[in-house]
């Protein structure tokens, strides 16, 4: 029968009150954990689709290219692609050349950025090309084939199979034109992509821009996002001998996506914070009620010779038991909710028009959670800490009573 045991028994004096409070805490933990895991999963999906369409989990650039997007900052890839592709965890290395150009049909012209790619590897990775039939892809790196966004096709008023002209500035300063033929059409659902995308073979792009053998970007796609740091170090070693190029993470290369996630998560955190504040007020209320009801008993306990500190510790033990129990129950519920969200997910197919876009990437309309056990434990510990914090006022109140006052109560 020690203090902890006494505290546990005290907790169940008013069973209904304890259960309601417990429910409120556990429910909030479940909610916060499940919502976090859901966002965690959705963000992971966004990052995955974002890096595949964009510059990869890691990207290699010429120094300064990222800041200026100056198309003269190319570099020779030489054996880099093979070396980086050999690193454990790397799925694909995509060489890309970005060339600002004027695309012209017989009626219309649009300023565009041509992307010179390696068609085989690009098709394996890029989500925009997922639904593109194999025969609609650019056939070889030096062919005149182009894969083009559906809206751009419409604006240029041409059809698949028809020709159009692109004009770009050559390294020598003059304007060079090339004739291309529409091979495939991409319909991503994102206005910006559909209105501007033109993929061509890498060789053809270098001919147009006069940058033989050079690329602007090596997009490195990993099997899993969490390998990023390890692969990053190995890439750094490989490019170490070439000071003019650098490797950057997707967060730097695609700040829009990284910030969209940050912003969304920050607003979510604010909501979490409000939930926890409300829970804390509830705990203060419950503990305070239970202390006020027991003033007489506290008087007796003090009279028989216990110190005020003992009472305070007892109240903290009560709060601790409550917090621990609620954290356990809440985490179990949180696990169940997460399990459901992982297995089944939330299907938004009926609610969104054709594709869900956020932060410049399209993602799956079925939202699925991903387990983040560390965070779940952390939030459970926070709640226990919060319960203890909430016990401070009731504990002080209990410790301040004098035996005579206490016994006169009620």
């Amino acid at each position: 029968m020690d203090l902890l045991y006494l505290a546990w028994r005290n907790l169940w004096r008013n069973r209904r009150r304890t259960i309601i409070t417990l429910t409120a805490i556990a429910f909030s933990i479940m909610l916060v954990q499940a919502l976090h895991n859901l966002s965690y999963g959705v963000y992971a999906g966004m990052v995955d689709s974002g890096v595949r369409a964009g510059s990869g989990h890691l990207a290699v650039y010429h120094d300064n290219y990222l800041a200026t997007r100056d198309e003269s900052l190319t570099f020779q890839d030489r054996d880099l692609i093979d070396k980086i592709a050999a690193i454990d965890g790397v799925t694909e290395v995509l060489p890309r050349l970005y060339i600002p150009a004027l695309a012209q049909s017989s009626r219309e012209s649009r300023g565009v950025v041509l992307i010179g790619v390696d068609p085989t590897s690009e098709r394996r990775i890029n989500p925009f090309l997922k639904d593109l039939p194999a025969e609609a892809m650019v056939r070889s790196t030096d062919s005149r084939d182009a894969v083009i966004g559906s809206r751009l096709l419409k604006e240029l008023q041409i059809n698949p199979g028809q020709k159009f002209v692109v004009t770009a500035q050559h390294r020598d300063g003059t304007l060079h034109s090339e004739l291309l033929r529409v091979r495939g059409v991409v319909h991503s659902g994102m206005k910006d992509i559909d209105g501007s995308l033109i993929l061509i073979g890498r060789q053809r792009a270098t001919v147009l821009a006069g940058t033989a053998g050079a690329v602007h970007e090596l997009a490195i796609i990993l099997a899993e996002t969490r390998q990023e740091a390890a692969v990053h170090r190995q890439v750094e070693t490989i490019i170490g001998s070439r000071p003019e190029i650098e490797a950057v993470s997707w967060e730097q290369a695609m700040p829009n996506l990284a910030n969209a996630i940050k912003l969304d998560y920050a607003s979510q955190k604010f909501i979490f914070l409000i939930i926890l504040v409300i829970v804390a007020i509830g705990v203060v209320n419950t503990l305070l009620m239970s202390v006020m009801e027991r003033m007489r008993e506290f008087g007796v306990i003090l009279a028989v010779g216990s110190k005020p500190m003992t009472l305070r510790v007892m109240i903290f033990f009560e709060a601790f038991s409550l917090g621990l129990l609620a954290a356990t129950v809440g985490t179990i519920l949180g696990c169940l909710a997460t399990w459901y969200l992982v297995k089944v997910g939330i299907d938004l197919t009926d609610f969104v028009p054709e594709s869900l876009e956020f932060g410049g990437v399209v993602f799956d309309p079925v939202l699925r959670a991903t387990w983040d056990p560390n965070w779940m434990v952390r939030i459970a510990l926070y709640v226990i800490g919060l319960t203890l914090l909430a016990a401070a006022y009731p504990a002080v109140k209990a410790g301040r009573v004098t035996p005579v006052e206490g016994m006169r109560h009620h």
Binding site: M1, N10, V300, M407
Partner: protein, 229 residues
Amino acid sequence: MALIELHNVSKVYRLGNQKVPALTDINLKVEAGAFAVLAGPSGSGKTTALNLIGCLDHPTSGQVIVSGLDLGQSSNRQLADFRLQNIGFIFQSYNLIPVLTAAENAEFTLMLQKVPRSVRRQKVLALFAELGIDGLEQRKPADLSGGQQQRVAIARAMAADPRVILADEPTANLDSHTAEGLLDLMRRLNCEKGTTFIFSSHDERVIERAKRVIHLQDGHITADDTVPS
């Protein structure tokens, strides 16, 4: 030196803006081994006097010395320790902790003294047998009769072997038969163990059995009779 000494003790309560004198200029000595009752009608100052003797409260003026400890010179912490070691309490409404079993309630002071579990359990079992409530150890207070609860309260007061046991109207909620049994029990403990008992009561049954009767009226001692044994 007597076990308990009160010198010119006064106690004034504040009730809003009014001052209500509870005790006025009391002088009292109680020797060890006494079996005394503070008698008087309600409002005469019995409970106040008992609280002072029990080191639960400070006097407004005057000096209270219990077993050599001067109440006015001691911190609340020291007083708590002193009560734990030297004083046992029995209350009119028993005041057992409802969530603990009878045995756990009796062990409470021993737990505060950090006595090991097995030792205190043994001691409490012996006390329960002596008090005639053996077999009720695992019952909760709510499942005990008034007399049984008061016996558990006595066990709690006795468990730490205090020098003084203070009992505030211990028989007020009990029927005659139970009350007399309880008083005989306390009288026996007084004789056998030499524990000092001080009651506050206006119950004739208590006054009849006391060895010393101190009459209080409006905060003054009006009579102090020692009954020859």
